[in-house]
């Protein structure tokens, strides 16, 4: 199944897209033959524990899960499977948190954290990956990101090649039409955040573009 693992709704300070607008757009993508099964909302520096998208998810038949994108002193990190235990231990608004500590606490809490858009200049993990710090916990990074600028994907792919990381895909959408431009294809079914964490830990996925999801019959 194909999930966009990285997108932002109006809950993030820099996005103007509502979750429902994203889901409507996905419904229209499906009509054009693309296979998009769900999205994971990764709001900046927060986790909306009380927000429930079940009704919207049912209405549009699109899986909607929640994660987070955190600023750390080693670049931005995506977090999936956030628990109350994790929220109690980490200040999500701390833009200089230690990513090594973040990954450790995430793992202990049944969640997972790994670098977002590592090739991005200034805030990508590539800036730190060759430092003296021990990043042995990193085994996954975001590979395809819909907001990359020139040269950033190349940096990411070199990192993945050099370190042997697995790679996910996400649109990093901040506006409606950007949703699902990059996705992660999972070999297993995912119904909730726990399934997602499990599939990520098993590394049963690959990063794909929206075009790759198109049904063969629909390709002109």
């Amino acid at each position: 199944m194909n999930l966009d693992l990285h997108c932002h709704s109006v809950s993030s300070d820099d996005s103007r897209a509502t979750v429902e607008q994203y889901l409507k757009w996905i419904v229209s993508l499906r009509k054009k033959g693309y296979i998009v099964d769900g999205i994971v909302l990764t709001e900046h520096r927060k986790f909306d524990i009380d927000l429930d998208y079940t009704e919207l998810s049912d209405k549009y038949d699109v899986l909607v899960l929640k994660g987070s994108e955190l600023d750390t002193r080693h670049g931005h990190f995506l977090v999936y499977g956030v628990t109350k235990q994790m929220l109690n231990k980490i200040d999500f608004g701390n833009v200089k948190m230690d990513s090594i500590e973040l990954m450790k606490i995430a793992k202990e809490s049944g969640a997972i954290a790994f670098p977002a858009h590592p090739g991005r200049f200034g805030i990508g993990f590539c800036e730190y990956s060759d430092s003296d710090l021990d990043f042995a916990q990193v085994s996954i990074v975001e590979h395809l990101n819909g907001s990359y600028r020139s040269g950033e994907l190349e940096r990411t792919e070199k990192l993945i090649s050099d370190k042997g990381y697995a790679g996910t895909g996400g649109s990093d959408a901040h506006f409606v039409s950007a949703i699902a431009t990059c996705l992660t294809e999972f070999r297993t079914s995912i119904h909730n955040e726990q399934d997602l964490v499990s599939a990520l830990n098993q590394k049963t996925f690959r990063a794909i573009t929206l075009e790759e999801t198109r049904k063969p019959d629909d390709v002109n």
Binding site: R16, D71, H76, V95, K96, G122
Partner: protein, 154 residues
């Protein structure tokens, strides 16, 4: 200078947070609404023709939803003495329209500092200053909220 800043370390006058200041009273006139409609290309009949607006159930000609943003430009904001960055710019505006605004309405505006936060982008750390402008109509109801963000960067 600001390399290790965290939100609670941003140097500004925190006593200003959520403090509401009156920002003026505005009468919504037909002339202003017409000028605004012309400037943004608003063609809806309820924004131009009083009889059509009344027919549609409004009390008078309806101002376009973004009308309140007009007033925000002229507001004086208290100095929060932010000590960060070398340059700044307007970072965005969001408008919540909660009630129709019609010709003849009187809007009482207030302004408050609703948030100051920090984030990191490609160009380094940035501090965002968010001002919320609240417009109450003659019935005391909040007709619109306009949130403006300004950013300071290293």
């Amino acid at each position: 200078m600001s390399e290790d800043l965290n939100k609670d370390q941003i140097d500004y006058d925190k006593s200003q947070l959520n403090k509401e200041y009156p920002a003026g009273s505005f009468l919504v006139t037909e002339k202003e609404v017409a000028m605004y409609c012309n400037s943004i290309g608003e063609l809806s009949e309820i924004c131009h023709d009083k009889s059509k607006a009344l027919e549609a159930g409004y009390r008078d000609i309806v101002a376009p939803p973004t009308f309140c943003a007009l007033f925000v430009r002229g507001f004086d904001r208290p100095d929060i003495n932010l000590n960060f960055g070398k340059s700044g710019f307007h970072a965005g505006e969001a408008i919540d329209v909660l009630e129709p605004i019609c010709v003849g309405d009187t809007l009482d505006a207030s302004i408050q500092l609703s948030d100051v936060y920090i984030k990191t982008g490609r160009s380094g750390q940035m501090v965002f200053i968010v001002w919320e402008h609240i417009f109450r109509n003659q019935n005391g109801n909040i007709a619109a909220k306009v949130r403006e963000s300004h950013v300071r960067r290293e």
